[in-house]
């Protein structure tokens, strides 16, 4: 019998080629795929919303988001994804599925999405102009500040969008979480949208 082993790789592996594309000059957009994260979907069970909020507070030291926003903790980000549900995004297995038993005990249903989603960080001076082609969400800093989040659609594809902490140079960072099987399609649309500004493509192991 032939030897068989799983080859773990990003859903964008076939299409993401690190490099510089599009218009010449200073690149206006940077697209960075964030790889190897832990992502768990948490949904309150019927009538257990308050109980879940309490359990989340105990574990993370902050209140889980009850409105569209992303809340950062020391080692995780809690992102609103719908009524009475949120994502836990982290690295290093500390808040991975297996470690979250206390939340699962009674108040919430958990679902491991670590390999079911692709996370793309969009930054650069033209990031907002580029995203405006795909999203009807107003991303102006006066409306969509650091920590703002939205469950929305881009190019007819459901995404979870949130603004992470600004980069050291003050540039905004927009995080886009998309279903793995739709990621390749959205990636092409993103590249096309960014081409006129010049785009730097890369991937990283670090959460933005």
């Amino acid at each position: 019998m032939a030897e068989f082993s799983w080859d773990v790789r990003s859903p964008l592996d076939r299409v993401l080629a690190v490099g510089r594309y599009g218009a010449h000059g200073d690149a206006g957009v940077t697209l960075t795929e964030i790889r190897n994260f832990d992502l768990v979907q948490v949904m309150a069970r019927r009538g257990k919303t308050a109980e879940l909020a309490k359990a989340a507070k105990v574990r993370f030291g902050v209140a889980a988001p009850e409105t569209p926003k992303a809340v950062g903790t020391a080692d995780a980000t809690l992102i609103w994804s719908g009524p009475d549900q949120f994502f836990i995004l982290s690295k290093g297995r500390k808040h991975a599925m297996a470690a979250l038993a206390p939340l699962r005990a009674g108040s919430a249903s958990l679902s491991d999405q670590s390999h079911a989603r692709v996370l793309i960080a969009v930054s650069g001076a033209k990031a907002r102009a580029m995203l405006a082609k795909m999203s009807s969400i107003d991303l102006h800093p006066s409306v969509f500040a650091v920590g703002a989040a939205a469950a929305t659609s881009m190019d007819h594809t459901s995404v979870t969008l949130w603004r992470g902490n600004d980069q050291a140079d003050g540039q905004a960072v927009f995080n886009v979480l998309v279903f793995a099987t739709f990621a390749e399609s959205l990636w092409h649309t993103m590249l096309d949208s960014a081409a006129e500004y010049g785009v730097v493509v890369g991937h990283s192991e670090d959460l933005a």
């Binding site: 919303t49 569209p68 009524p83 009475d84």
Partner: protein
């Protein structure tokens, strides 16, 4: 047309799916054939204000009850449908 989702805020129509009249109520199990036929097949063709089910599938995936004027498209109320979000179940 835009709909103000009670969870997400104002969003474009493309994020929503229309499911139809929110008024019909499932009849009791012993209500009889006529009541079931009415519930499954018969719909009012309202010219004016009606209550509709919409699904925010391109956003928070919540079911919404939208009060809309079919002549003007004016939306006068949007509320979560029963069961939208664990906190609202049965509300």
């Amino acid at each position: 047309m835009r709909i103000v989702c009670p969870f997400c805020g104002e969003r474009e129509l493309g994020e929503f799916t229309y499911l139809g009249d929110a008024k019909p109520v499932r009849p009791a199990a012993d209500a009889g054939e006529e009541a079931v036929y009415d519930y499954v097949y018969l719909r009012d063709n309202v010219a004016g204000v009606m209550s509709e089910n919409w699904y925010h599938g391109g956003g928070c995936r919540a079911w919404l009850k939208v009060t809309r004027n079919t002549l003007t498209h004016e939306i006068s109320a949007v509320e979560p449908a029963a069961g939208a979000g664990a906190a609202k179940v049965g509300a």
